[in-house]
Structures are given as structure tokens and as C-alpha cells.
């Protein structure tokens, strides 16, 4: 076991060291403010601070806030307090700015570049905690932007697929959370149900003893997604499949299909509890397809069979396809018209539409256009995320 860090003799004492430790944690991404430093010090009064294990437990309770932080804490604690007996230097000895000093001391000991010293002063004022979290927020935002700019064909890393799933989840929520305008009686509601209250008050001699409520019920929309997995779509298929998986997991009423020359229902496969296994099962189904893409006939088959059971006026049909059809365009038009008659909304997400100068001149696509409620690009994650607003308005 490594020995306890020794501190330079001109050090300000325990409080400065603890403040330095907080700054050390802050440098390592834990979000701690001045209040935490204060609590940490008071916490050490109540344990035997000379015993490393007690100090460790006490500081862990104060300084960590979630499982990941708790797991990292041991390492950070050891690196600061158990630094092989090395002497920790202190650069600027002042009395008023103890915290600031120690930030310097811990930094210098670690030999970090002096350029970051400006940052280290930030935690001294009260906005410190916020500034820190702002910084992290920005980092995440850039990450998302980077991710968004890529064409979806680059999206192969699992964590990026997870991000695609997250977008799917949000879209699903945007589609589903439709509330009715009318209110119905409910045990807990935001308004009083006056008609019922008056009726019930008759039994208590006109006194409205029981208050009854009403609320706007959720009118959930069902999402039915049809994903094209033909050869021309194969570079986008992986992401769309992840997108479908996310949609299915976020919504227990949703329904999903793959088509190429045939139509296959994949809802059951996607309902697998294990997310990765579900994607694996679905990928196997997607790989099993061959031949040219017959969008029109697949949609006809859908309209004639599954749609009768699963599509009604509260359904949103989501078609993910590039619209390149080997069958006659009239078939596609007829299929969509038939689907439309069931009262559903039809959304077509076309990966090609995101390209510059794209015109829906593919005959199949042209035939489909009049029947669509929404025709949108979906070749970047940004496009998928941007759909949220449009879907809410639908």
C-alpha cells in the first residue's frame, strides 16, 4: 500500500489540503462546489481524520453523487492522499484565498501545464459549480453535433447506435403523447367535474361533499414502422434498424416490419428483453432477404393483411425507404391510397432526400408523394432528431 502524501511545511493546514482535494476531484470531472468543500471539512471533524480508511469513507459519502463517481473515487483519493510519500508543493502562499492556492499546489505537483491555471480560479467564486457543469454541457453538445453531421453510413459504433436509439425514443414519445381536448372523469384530474359533482350532491342534500375530477385522457398514437432493407438501402439499414429497435423499446404498442421483396413482421424479435440480442435477431431476419426491391407489392401486402389488424385512425405509419422500386409505380400509389383509407397518417423518411439537389423523380416516389402526410429526409441523426417538432405538429 502506498504511503500517505506528505505536505510541504509551509502549507496552510488541513483545510487547505481538503480544499485542494476538492479541486483535484473537480479537475477530474466530479461536479463539486464550495458547499461540498465546506461539508467535507465538517464531515472530517466527525470521524477520526487521521485514519485513512475513515477519511476515505467520509469523503466518499460527501463528494460522490452517483455510482460511477463512487467507483472512480478510490483511485482519485489514492492519487491525492496516498502519493507514495511524495511532498506536495504549494506555489502561492496567501491566507485569504486558501482554495485558490491549493488548486495551484495540486496542479503543480501533478506537473500540469500552467495554461489551465485560469480555469482553476473559477471554482473560487460561487458560480464555480455552474461554470463547471456548463463546460461539460458544451462538450456533450459538440459531440452530438459531430455525430449529427456524419452520413448515417458511418454510424457503426455501438454507442452511436445507442444515440440513434435515443433519438428514436424521443421521436416515439413525440408521436405518442397526444392528449385529447375533451376531458373525461378521472380519480385524479386537473379540473372539477361539475356535472358529476352536482349529481352526487343530490344524495347529500345539495352539499357537494364529494369532489369529482376530470382530466384530458392520453390518446396514444400507435406507431407502425416499415423499413426497407433492399440492397440500395443496405448502408442505411443498420442505423434504421437501431432506430426501429429504439422505437420498439420505448413503446409497447408499436409495430415493426421489414420489407425487400417480401414483408416480414419483426415486432416479436424486437421485443426481446436483451437489446443487443433483439438487434441480432432482427439483423438475421434482414440479412435473409434477397432479390430486387419491391416496395409497392410489399405495401399492398401490408395494406391487405397486417394493416387490417394493426392500423386504425390513431396510427402513424412510418416508412423508411429510398423509394427505388422495381415494380410499377401505380401499385405503390394504390397501396398507399388503400392504407390512407384506414385513417392513418403516413410518414415517409427517405435517406436520399438529405442529399443536395435531390428531387423525388424516381417514379415510385413520385407516385407515393400525394398520399404522404410528411415526406422528410433521414440520412443523418440530426434529421431524425429534427423530425420531433414536425411530428408533434402532425
Amino acid at each position: 500500500m502506498s504511503r500517505v502524501t506528505r505536505f510541504a511545511a509551509r502549507d496552510d493546514g488541513a483545510s487547505a489540503r481538503v480544499a485542494g482535494f476538492i479541486a483535484h476531484l473537480r479537475d477530474n470531472g466530479l461536479r463539486l462546489g464550495v458547499a461540498e468543500a465546506d461539508t467535507a471539512l465538517s464531515a472530517l471533524i466527525h470521524v477520526e481524520a487521521a485514519k485513512p480508511d475513515e477519511t476515505r469513507s467520509a469523503l466518499r459519502a460527501v463528494c460522490t453523487g452517483c455510482k460511477e463517481e463512487a467507483e472512480r473515487f478510490d483511485e482519485l483519493f489514492t492519487s491525492y492522499w496516498m502519493d507514495m510519500g511524495r511532498v506536495r508543493q504549494k506555489s502561492v502562499p496567501t491566507t485569504s484565498q486558501t482554495m485558490n492556492d491549493d488548486v495551484h499546489s495540486s496542479r503543480d505537483a501533478k506537473g500540469e501545464q500552467s495554461g489551465s491555471a485560469g480555469q482553476a480560479t473559477a471554482p473560487d467564486d460561487h458560480g464555480g459549480g455552474d461554470a463547471d457543469s456548463d463546460g461539460t454541457g458544451k462538450l456533450i453538445a459538440t459531440e452530438v453535433r459531430n455525430l449529427n453531421r456524419k452520413d448515417l453510413r458511418d454510424l457503426v459504433r455501438p454507442e452511436e447506435i445507442a444515440a440513434a436509439e435515443d433519438v428514436a425514443r424521443r421521436l416515439g414519445a413525440a408521436l405518442r403523447d397526444k392528449r385529447s381536448r375533451r376531458r373525461i372523469a378521472a380519480r385524479k384530474g386537473d379540473r372539477l367535474h361539475f356535472r358529476k359533482i352536482m349529481r352526487h350532491s343530490l344524495s347529500t342534500g345539495g352539499e357537494p361533499i364529494r369532489l369529482l375530477h376530470k382530466k384530458r385522457p392520453d390518446r396514444t398514437r400507435k406507431i407502425v414502422a416499415l423499413c426497407d432493407v433492399s440492397g440500395s438501402m443496405s448502408i442505411y439499414a443498420q442505423v434504421f434498424l437501431a432506430f426501429l429497435a429504439g422505437l420498439m423499446r420505448a413503446d409497447t404498442a408499436a409495430d415493426a416490419y421489414l420489407f425487400h421483396t417480401r414483408l416480414v413482421r419483426i415486432t416479436e424479435a424486437l421485443r426481446d428483453k436483451d437489446a443487443m440480442r433483439a438487434i441480432g435477431r432482427m439483423s438475421l431476419m434482414a440479412d435473409g432477404f434477397g432479390g430486387g426491391s419491391e416496395i409497392g407489392p410489399s405495401l399492398v401486402r401490408f395494406a391487405d393483411t397486417y394493416a387490417r389488424r394493426f392500423v386504425d385512425g390513431r396510427t402513424v405509419v412510418l416508412i423508411l425507404s429510398d423509394g427505388y422500386d422495381t415494380a410499377a409505380p401505380e401499385i405503390m400509389g394504390a397501396a398507399l391510397a388503400k392504407l390512407r383509407k384506414r385513417g392513418c397518417k403516413i410518414i415517409w423518411l427517405n435517406p436520399l432526400k438529405g442529399w443536395k439537389d435531390y428531387e423525388p423523380i424516381a417514379s415510385g416516389m413520385a407516385a407515393a408523394l400525394p398520399h404522404l402526410d410528411l415526406f422528410k429526409a433521414a440520412n443523418t441523426l440530426g434529421d431524425l432528431a429534427a423530425l420531433e417538432q414536425e411530428l408533434v405538429a402532425l
Binding site: S42, H46, V47, K67, K188
Partner: protein, 291 residues
């Protein structure tokens, strides 16, 4: 009182607390801060509060969170029916509007719910806010006011400040992420599944009559079982059930009868796929390793 005293006090009530947890609890008590306990289901988070209340002879006020929990259920509600009757009675006595209004919006007509009840006791109770991550984010905002200032604002009455500061313990299972604001106000401990020695100590303290050999086997078996890929990992309560079931059936050794072992696994495995996964052979192998 040091944290070791607290640890022994909890031990007397039959709760074997790890050092980390004891220090955190001790700090929560001395600093007067809420303690947030996170961890898998069945590691004894809720039991901490129960035991703490018992060891301090304090009242335990429990608020079980659920989706849709609102202020009326958690903090306070006006007793509408009583107010209505009071208005009627006042009308017959010819009381004026102002006086009646003051009367019906007084403490007498306020129904206290757990959070308000916890801060208006004479002696500090233990307030357990169970599975706080199940409640909505809106509810977290109510909690923030109570946990930082120990006060409740009632628009018609004004602010009710705490007569005694409750010892607050929050538990969460990670259903959703809690807000940073709430985490910041609490001390935090992640409760792990206990290691072999600790679990054995728990078993001995809860089931003192168990034979040492069987106790060792039970704990070893459950510890090994947790390493398997299960949907629902058995917690401590399940382990105690398992031990009780074995003792009830009069079994002295796990490896004796695979049939009986398999039938007692119902106390440990709580989903169909887990039961299918741990077949008689697998159970036998684990029991062999545990012995």
C-alpha cells in the same frame, strides 16, 4: 458517538452495516444532511431506515414514491369536507365571511401527509423516502425545498418550519437519473451486495439457529448464483428466505438431494427465464462449488 458505535447499535437490531455505510450514516446524523442510498434491489436499502429508527427509538415515517405521486399525497391536503361543513355551520350561526375564512384555512383543517408530518413532530423521526426515482421530476422539486430548508409553504397559511429536523434517508434503484440538485443536497452511498463474510454475519444475526455448515453453503451458493447471468439477481431477503426454506425442510447439506434443492430455488429465482436457466445440473454444480 462515533460511527463504530452506530455500527454496533445497528448490529444489535440485526443489521450488519458495512464500514462505508456506517460512516455515511454517522455523517448524515451529525451533519443533519439527507442520505441517498443507491443500489440494486434487495441489498437492504430500505432496511437501513427501519433499523436506524428502531435503534434510536424514533418513529419511522415512510413515503413510498410512485409515478404520479403529487403534493396532495406527499405533503399536505386541505380537509375539504370538514371545511364545507364548517362553512355551513358558520352560516347558521351568522358568522361573517372573513372570520370563517380564517378558521377554515387553519392548521385544524390541514391533512398532514408524510413529508409535512415528518417536520412537525416533537422528536426527530426517521423519514424514509423510498424509491425516489419512481416519482416524477415535478415531485423532486417539492423535495428540494423540504430537504434544504426543512420547511413547507402552504399558500393559504404561510410557511411551516420544522419543529424538529427529521433524519432523511432516500433510496433509489436507478429507474431514472435523479437531478444533480437533489444529489448535491444529499450524502451518497452506493450499497453493494455484501461480501461472503458480511452476508454470513447477516444470516447468523437473522437466523441464529442455522447450522454453521449449512449457513456457509447457503451463503456460498447465493454468492455464486449472483455471478450467473440472471435477470433478477437474488438479494439478501431472498437468501434469508432460501435459508429458512432449507431449514423448514430439515436439510443439513445442499448437495444431499438435488430434487429438493431445485424446488427450494423458487425462493431465489423470481422469473421464468431464470428458473429455466438454472437447471438441476447447474444448481448441483453451483452447490458443489459452494461447499
Amino acid at each position: 458517538m462515533t460511527w463504530t458505535d452506530l455500527q454496533t447499535a445497528l448490529g444489535r437490531e440485526g443489521y450488519v452495516a458495512s464500514d462505508d455505510l456506517s460512516v455515511a450514516l454517522h455523517l448524515a446524523l451529525t451533519l443533519g444532511r439527507p442520505l441517498l442510498l443507491e443500489g440494486a434491489a434487495g441489498v437492504g436499502k430500505t432496511e437501513v431506515a427501519r433499523t436506524l429508527a428502531a435503534s434510536r427509538d424514533a418513529e419511522l415515517i415512510r413515503l413510498q414514491c410512485y409515478e404520479g405521486l403529487d403534493a396532495a399525497q406527499a405533503i399536505y391536503e386541505w380537509n375539504y369536507q370538514r371545511q364545507l361543513l364548517a362553512i355551513r355551520a358558520a352560516a347558521e350561526d351568522g358568522e361573517t365571511g372573513k372570520a370563517v375564512e380564517e378558521r377554515i384555512f387553519s392548521r385544524d383543517f390541514l391533512l398532514e401527509r408524510p413529508l409535512l408530518a415528518a417536520i412537525t413532530k416533537d422528536t426527530p423521526p426517521v423519514l424514509l423516502i423510498d424509491e425516489v426515482d419512481r416519482a416524477d421530476e415535478e415531485f423532486e422539486a417539492y423535495l428540494l425545498e423540504i430537504l434544504s430548508d426543512y420547511q413547507v409553504s402552504v399558500p393559504e397559511l404561510g410557511t411551516i418550519t420544522a419543529t424538529s429536523r427529521p433524519i432523511v434517508i432516500l433510496t433509489c434503484n436507478g429507474t431514472r437519473d435523479l437531478s444533480d440538485a437533489l444529489r448535491r443536497r444529499c450524502l451518497y452511498t452506493y450499497v453493494e451486495y455484501p461480501d461472503r463474510e458480511t452476508e454470513l454475519a447477516i444470516l447468523k444475526s437473522r437466523c441464529p439457529e442455522i447450522e454453521a455448515h449449512l449457513g456457509n453453503q447457503v451463503v456460498g451458493f447465493v454468492q455464486k448464483l449472483r455471478e450467473e447471468e440472471l435477470e433478477k439477481t437474488p438479494g439478501i431477503a431472498e437468501m434469508l428466505d432460501f435459508a429458512a426454506a432449507l431449514m423448514g425442510l430439515g436439510i443439513a447439506d445442499l448437495t444431499d438431494d438435488p430434487e429438493v434443492l431445485q424446488s427450494t430455488l423458487t425462493t431465489l429465482l423470481k422469473t421464468q427465464s431464470d428458473q429455466a436457466h438454472i437447471t438441476k445440473e447447474v444448481a448441483g454444480r453451483i452447490a458443489g462449488k459452494a461447499a
